[in-house]
Symmetry: C2
Subunit: 78 residues, 2 copies
């Protein structure tokens, strides 16, 4: 699978673990399919933004443009 956005991938996996949720749990809560959560955590590059945002919203985040350098994101102030 063409992968990309390891940042997003790591972010969601980390947040999910911290919340003690399984992938099915997260899928339910976010209202997306299980397959989607998996694709997301594996860094699938062609995900649709709206679906990704449904998931990110659970953790108070959303997709947005970020500068490409800072390879260590999500240490913002969460």
């Amino acid at each position: 699978m063409e992968k990309n956005n390891i940042t997003l991938s790591r972010f969601i996996k980390e947040k999910r673990k911290l919340a003690n949720l399984t992938q099915p749990d997260l899928a339910d809560k976010a209202g997306v399919g299980l397959r989607f959560v998996r694709d997301m955590e594996q860094g699938k590059a062609t995900l649709k933004m709206d679906k990704v945002n449904q998931v990110l919203k659970l953790f108070g985040h959303e997709l947005g443009p970020v500068a490409m350098n800072r390879k260590t994101l999500f240490h913002e102030e969460s």
Copy 2:
């Protein structure tokens, strides 16, 4: 059209203007269709991440998870 991510929409429109590019110009440079650039600038919510990233890359940015509060993004340090 279901719109979302006004942030992204404004970001791309702003960057394009600053670079003195027309929508067709940007589409060419990014390797995406003209229709896509337009959907993007109009805040279409269901865009695919990889295509959006192709465009953002031209401006040194990419999609990533950002905290939902800060409604005024892209004053990072660009």
